[in-house]
């Protein structure tokens, strides 16, 4: 039976969500006066990164957790969103260089995310016919192609040197330049996190979302129930790519600099690690995964390339011992406790 406690009910979940959002708004404000965090505002950068990776991981979750399709190439979409937004908003590159006109950064992020979604849909046309392991290879190849384009098309992207002075986001006359206030940018990111999570909840609890889950559960039966499997897989890829592309845009306008190195295949592996670590197929898992892995990643900076080794080990342990991720830890513990209780009762 489904558990029917208060926190499982619709009302309870809404209460938790509201409290979480309130805390996410208030706590950084209090930190603003804290001596440790005011010295350099790196704390806010970390929070922004967690928010951005939450959007990425949630997008990946729609594809992997709900539709059951793997992607080891989502850094490719992150790259398209990031470069796309830079090339649409930068005065010396891309659109600005060619025409002299540029788009305001939020609009450029949105359009770049749409481009990522379109590319995702195109990629999904062949991908929708592939099963798990071939799909992994296809998405790895996709990531590689995007990376190579970013690295080698110097006339467009300035190659491996990258592009500096990426314009800051300005909305309704308010500047979200991270050089002046990182806290403001954090609230911008938080706003989009809430929007994207809300949209995700709406999608997965609708007719469309049920179609996606049905594909994960049983493609044959889904087809027999009237779900156009190929179309829904393409849709899932496109939605997922939109999320990740948008996050890529938010990322680059925060950092203010872009170079191809950010979008190597390892980044895709980190995205998957975040999702598996947090737990896929639910709302909370991607948030937890993004937060914990981002913090670990920053904490392990000194290990440089050995970090990938740590991720490998973390991933292995999670898959072996906690396949539901840390979001499923509550279930696992309560399961173990009730098992022990039963054991005691029998003994």
């Amino acid at each position: 039976m489904k558990e029917q406690g208060f926190f499982q009910s619709k009302k309870g979940k809404t209460v938790i969500a509201v409290v979480a959002i309130a805390l996410a708004i208030i706590i950084p404000l209090m930190m603003d006066n804290n001596i440790i965090f005011t010295q350099n505002k790196y704390f806010y950068v970390l929070l922004c990164l967690i928010g951005i990776y939450t959007i990425v991981t949630s997008g990946l979750d729609i594809l992997f957790g709900y539709t059951g399709q793997i992607s080891f190439g989502h850094a490719g979409f992150f790259c398209i969103g990031a470069y796309g937004s830079v090339l649409l908003s930068h005065t010396q590159w891309g659109l600005g260089k060619a025409t002299g006109y540029v788009l305001t950064p939020i609009l450029s992020i949105f359009i770049a995310a749409c481009i990522a979604a379109a590319v995702g849909a195109l990629l999904a046309i062949p991908a929708s016919k592939l099963v798990f392991h071939f799909l992994s290879m296809l998405t790895i190849a996709f990531n590689q192609i995007v990376y190579l384009i970013a690295n080698n098309f110097s006339w467009l992207t300035n190659g491996s040197i990258g592009i500096t002075s990426v314009p800051a986001v300005t909305l309704f006359g308010i500047s979200f330049a991270t050089t002046t206030s990182k806290l403001k940018y954090y609230y911008l990111v938080l706003f989009f996190v809430v929007v994207f999570l809300l949209v995700k909840t709406h999608i997965v609890n609708s007719r469309v979302g049920r179609g996606l889950i049905a594909i994960r559960e049983n493609p044959t039966a889904a087809n027999g129930c009237g779900v156009n499997v190929a179309k829904y897989k393409i849709m899932s890829f496109a939605i997922s790519a939109f999320y990740v592309g948008f996050a890529g845009g938010l990322y680059v306008h925060m950092i203010g600099f872009i170079s191809p190195d950010t979008f190597v295949q390892n980044t895709s592996v980190i995205f998957i690690t975040m999702l598996l670590f947090g737990g896929s197929g639910n709302l909370v898992g991607p948030i937890l995964g993004a937060a914990v892995i981002t913090i670990i990643q920053e904490g392990l900076q000194f290990l440089a390339d050995y970090r990938m080794l740590i991720y490998g080990i973390v991933l292995l342990l999670i898959i072996l011992f906690q396949p539901q991720g840390i979001a499923g830890l509550g279930n696992t513990i309560s399961g173990a406790v009730s098992k022990r209780k039963r054991g005691a009762a029998n003994g």
């Binding site: 039976m1 469309v208 889950i213 044959t220 039966a221 009237g226 849709m235």
Partner: protein
Amino acid sequence: MGEKLLEVKDLTINFSGLKAVDTLNFSIDKGEIFGLIGPNGAGKTTTFNMISGALKPTSGEVWLNGQRIDGNYMYQTNKLGIARTYQNINLFRSMTVLENLLVGQHCRLTCGLAPAILRTPRERKEEAAAVEKAKETLEFCGLHEKIDVYSNSLSYGEQRILEIARALVSDPYLIILDEPAAGMNPTEKNSLADLVQRIRAKGVTVLLVEHDMKFVMGITDRICVLNYGKRIALGTPAEVQANPEVIEAYLGGGD
């Protein structure tokens, strides 16, 4: 009898040289319970797969309500009014009984991505109606007490009934049942027979494959017998049982 609902004309399929179904002809009238029987490997499930759109026939035609449907995909056939169950149970295992029935209505619901994201009043109304419809269907099939149970924790017999409910909830003209009684105990078989009769009484035509002869003979109006992909008999249960070719196919001829 009455109007023809489904017509199968010269249906043939080749699996690399092997004719699994060979120029098969039959038609099903509206409101009929029609059985398809035959020894193992006779091509019954293959025929089902061609009618429902899981397989494309090599040649021949399938017509539903005067519309040609062979070569359609399953999701298209489902929308046109054919719903089916499977020989090996194909449920959405980690979904609840209710959710399975909501997916079952997929082809009858219309809201796409945008209404879902915006939660428009139309979308909410449609979803609420879908839940009501699912509840009615579960009541009809006798599974309403299990509405919030995950489908993988149902008993085997209940899973078979859930598959029928999931097919029925899409309001089909024709429901195709692939070995619905397999693995059921006698009590469950009796209530299944009752359910099939009630489904017909609702106005849904039934096509079924079943190995349990007592079950088939008891509930069908007409039976088509297949052997090696060919039709060897067609008629009422009594006619079919008296047919020497059928007896030979089942018991083996002594030449």
